[in-house]
């Protein structure tokens, strides 16, 4: 590993007066000073600052496009800043590569895990950081000991493909700890976690901070910030709008206000309408998951015209499989799926779309969109058959359709012939949701439609779904964000172990009761109703 580079001409040294301010004269563990980073047409960081003290958990907050990821990539050596300085423990560094940053003690846990599925936990942890041939047992016990020290429950000898998302994330954290990262940067670590796993992660982060390490935590979820973190820095438009706020002295409302630059949007519950006929009916549905285990077990459900039915549950209880089965992307073992009164259990995805089923899949870039294709190609993914002239695709007609879609749903995009890979997460989702809604579907299945989006993106997508409901569509919405479901849903169903275990009225439901139902407690102290009869025969 390279030695830390002393600054050449930019000045700045361990004794630079600006780096003071830490308790007991100790320089901050991380200091980013006046960081500028420009990309063609975009200024991602415009003089951003960050100062994090050793032994603290520090949140970096901001909407999509606020420059959080760019700033963290500067800190972890992925990008070099155009201007500005990175100081670790008061020493200025010029990282060329992530390896340089790691050598200085900065380890990043990316949103997408970088693990070898067929390797064991221990093998993944030591991969590339273990020069000699070592005995497997020794490595496993060393990794086990490290995991235990930080309260990261894991089994070192299990192959990674066996693990849940939460467990995989622990392996990523272990990788950074194994490489002796003193400063851990976690990019939206809770996006892939269940609420329970997120809480566990919070405890682990605290543990690491108590151990004298420094944790930087990027998140959209305000309650996690207030729950896990000591301080928060808020970015907006590439600038630091609030630096090192003490979390104890602030609250979610203030933080949300700083993020969006105005007082937070108060989402009133849109008024419900009387539900009409059942447009989506699922009866006795059984499906297997990818590993061939039962994912849905005799599931019944009905969604009526003009209502949003929310599905709550801890991730991995069959929500994903339910959405896929309705969309025609997962084979059905037994049971039936009726769309607009017709049995469509064995229909192809294209037939179901023609019947008026819009599907917003959980995995946007892997399923809902084709990342290497252009904006236009993606806009006509469902309807390219309508832009045909003989065997040819009518480029003008497809582009026209795409232009309409982009305008109507406010997708901010470059040239329509360019691959969609350049679009931000929020715009990708607008394109995808717009494409599914533009034809006026009768039934919409939306799986995690707002996950990972910024406040305005969330609002835009939610408004679209509500408008569609008001137009008479039946909407089934799967979300891990209970607040979102309580705000939008007309009825709330809770899934556990492949069944609907309870139904709540979001207007009156108690969170505690919903939580109990989510973890499968049989005698729930809310107003759950026996699901099968009420949902299917309503």
């Amino acid at each position: 590993m390279t030695e830390p580079q002393q600054p050449a001409a930019t000045g700045g040294s361990p004794s630079d007066p600006e780096s003071g301010g830490a308790p007991a004269g100790e320089p901050p563990a991380v200091e980013l000073l006046d960081v500028w980073k420009r990309f063609p047409g975009v200024v991602a960081n415009a003089g951003a600052h960050l100062r994090v003290h050793r032994g603290s958990v520090h949140a970096v907050l901001g909407e999509n496009g606020a420059g959080k990821s760019t700033l963290m990539n500067v800190l972890s050596g992925v990008y070099r800043p155009d201007e500005g300085e990175v100081r670790i423990d008061g020493v200025a560094h010029h990282f060329r590569t992530p390896a340089d940053a790691l050598a200085a003690g900065v380890g990043m846990v990316h949103q997408e895990f970088r693990l070898v599925p067929s390797f064991t936990v221990a093998e993944n942890v030591v991969l590339g950081a273990c020069n000699r041939i070592v005995r497997r047992a020794a490595v496993e016990s060393a990794v086990g000991a490290l995991a235990e020290r930080f309260g990261l429950a894991t089994e070192p000898d299990r192959p990674v493909w066996h693990l849940s998302m939460g467990e995989r994330q622990r392996v990523e954290i272990l990788k950074a700890l194994w490489r002796d990262a003193r400063i851990l940067v976690l990019d939206e670590p809770t996006a892939v976690l269940t609420p329970g796993e997120a809480d566990e992660l919070g405890a682990v982060l605290r543990h690491m901070a108590d151990d004298g390490r420094t944790v930087i935590f990027i998140s959209h979820k305000l309650h996690e910030v207030t729950g896990f973190c000591d301080e928060a820095t808020v970015l907006r438009g590439g600038e630091t709008v609030a630096a090192s706020l003490s979390v104890a002295d602030t609250d979610a409302t203030q933080l949300a206000g700083l993020m969006v630059g105005a007082s937070p949007l108060v989402t009133d519950r849109p008024p419900s309408r009387d539900a009409g006929e059942a447009l989506l009916e699922v009866r006795g549905l059984r499906c297997l998951d990818d590993r061939g285990l039962a994912a849905l077990d005799d599931l019944d459900l009905a969604v009526h015209s003009g209502e949003i039915v929310g599905i709550a549950g801890v991730a991995g209880n069959g929500q994903r499989e339910l959405a896929q089965a309705i969309a025609g992307l997962r084979s059905v073992e037994s049971g039936s799926i009726h769309l607009v009164g017709e049995d469509r259990t064995d229909a192809t995805p294209r037939q179901r779309f023609a019947d008026g089923l819009g599907y917003i899949p959980e995995d946007r870039l892997g399923v809902g969109l084709a990342p290497r294709l252009s904006v236009t190609d993606n806009a006509v993914l469902r309807t390219y058959g309508r832009h045909r002239r003989g065997p040819f695709l009518d480029a003008a007609s497809a582009t026209g359709h795409c232009r309409d879609l982009v305008d109507r749903f406010g997708v901010r995009t470059g040239p329509l012939e360019e691959p969609i890979a350049g679009l931000s997460g929020g715009n990708l989702q607008r394109l995808l949701v717009g494409r599914e809604l533009v034809g006026g579907p009768r039934v919409v299945v939306a799986a995690q439609p707002t996950r990972g989006l910024d406040v305005q993106g969330v609002k835009a997508i939610q408004d679209l779904l509500v408008a569609e409901r008001d137009a008479g569509a039946a909407i089934l919405m799967v979300s891990e964000d209970l607040d979102e479901l309580l705000t939008l849903a007309d009825r709330l169903l809770v899934m556990h172990a492949g069944c609907i275990v309870a139904e709540f009225d979001p207007a009156t439901a108690e969170r505690r009761a919903i939580g109990e139902a989510m973890i499968g407690h049989a005698d729930v102290t809310g107003d759950p109703v026996a699901p099968a009869e009420t949902t299917a025969d309503r």
């Binding site: 037939q351 399923v367 809902g368 294709l373 469902r382 390219y384 695709l393």
Partner: protein, 358 residues
């Protein structure tokens, strides 16, 4: 102590594949100079001779074009599969299978009118190549068997099949017991175009253009692009991945078979076990350099054809024909290196650990 490391560029350099290809060619020619000087030849004279023999006059062009035909069609065959993320490594064998089909028609159609027999030969060639690819296609589409292995292994089968035929049933009774198939009759030979060039040049160009149009302008090509981008997205869009894999691999085999038919009818006197001449494998390089695009395939095939013909011509100067093979390989290396350097830059850093791509 400083060492070079590759550092990822934040933005990929613009200029693209033609530039990378040009750099590859330049690198190949420079290294070729070293090789030629090392083996005691005057590199300028050798290069001049190569150029004259391949692109110097209409006759040279005609020979180069004839050579570009099988290269281009084999490259197209690989590119058709490659546009969906499939690798057809079996073009070599499919060329042979196509030639077998064409030769069979030529045997039974000895007294048919020329246009009829040639059309039937080419159709049989497409069928033969497609048939050889059918097994791998079904195995891949139905149960996910890796098509790289199956298509590669079938090359051997096709070549043995030709050997079996020319040692046995198809052996020319007048060949004094040499394992040779009889010469093609005149009605089974492709008409000429100019100098040595035959109409196969036009046919190949038409096929490449047709695929280019189909890939970029038709609904079929669109489905192919979606399936190549993400299989899950294709399923979501209602595109049958199974059927797409099946048709694309069989089509790919058919295109390679077509090359075999043209090669037999246009440039070879008879079917031999050397007819495919490495075109199928060269086609993989052609397709890779062309980034799996039909338009690029034509350009790269023409250049490779010129290098091959030029390489043959310098044998009379005492230079081994391996020089041309080495040049082709160097072009590929140079182009790949240029591709890497468009994404990474080289930096010297102080340090003592081993160099690595970061």
């Amino acid at each position: 102590m400083s060492r070079p490391v590759l550092v990822r560029r934040e933005q990929v350099l613009r200029g693209g594949q033609p530039l990378a290809f040009g750099i590859g060619l330049a690198v190949a020619l420079v290294v070729g100079v070293l090789l030629l000087v090392g083996s005691g030849h005057d590199p300028l004279r050798v290069y001049e001779r190569m150029f004259e023999a391949s692109l110097g006059d209409p006759r040279a062009w005609s020979v180069t074009l004839n050579r570009a035909v099988p290269l281009g069609l084999a490259g197209l065959a690989v590119a058709v599969a490659g546009s969906m993320g499939l690798w057809n490594i079996g073009a070599e064998g499919q060329i042979m299978a196509g030639a077998i089909g064409a030769a069979w028609v030529a045997r039974i159609g000895g007294d048919w009118p020329s246009p009829v027999v040639i059309t039937a030969m080419l159709a049989a060639a497409i069928l033969g190549g497609g048939l050889l690819a059918l097994g791998p296609a079904i195995a891949r589409a139905r149960i996910g068997v890796n098509e790289i292995i199956t298509t590669l292994m079938l090359n051997e089968v096709a070549i043995r099949l030709v050997q079996w035929l020319i040692h046995g049933r198809w052996k020319d009774p007048d060949s004094h017991n040499f394992p040779l198939a009889p010469m093609l009759s005149d009605n089974a030979r492709l008409p000429g175009l100019f100098e040595r060039a035959h109409v196969g040049v036009v046919l190949a160009a038409v096929v490449i253009v047709l695929f280019g149009v189909a890939a970029s302008r038709t609904a079929w090509g669109y489905e192919l692009r979606v399936a190549g981008s993400s299989g899950a997205t294709a399923r979501y869009a209602g595109i049958s991945l199974e059927r797409k894999i099946l048709t694309v691999l069989v089509l790919s085999g058919g295109v390679a078979g077509f090359a075999g038919g043209i090669e037999l009818s246009g440039t070879s006197d008879r079917i031999t076990e050397n007819l495919s001449n490495g075109f199928g494998f060269a086609g993989i390089i052609v397709a890779a350099l062309a980034l799996m695009r039909p338009s690029g395939v034509a350009a790269v095939a023409l250049l490779f054809g010129a290098v091959q013909i030029g390489g043959q011509s310098i044998q009379t100067m005492g230079v081994s024909s391996s020089v041309s093979t080495i040049l082709q390989a160097l072009i590929l290396f140079g182009a790949i290196a240029a591709g890497v350097l468009s994404r990474y830059r080289v930096e010297m850093v102080a340090g003592d650990t081993t160099g690595a791509i970061r």
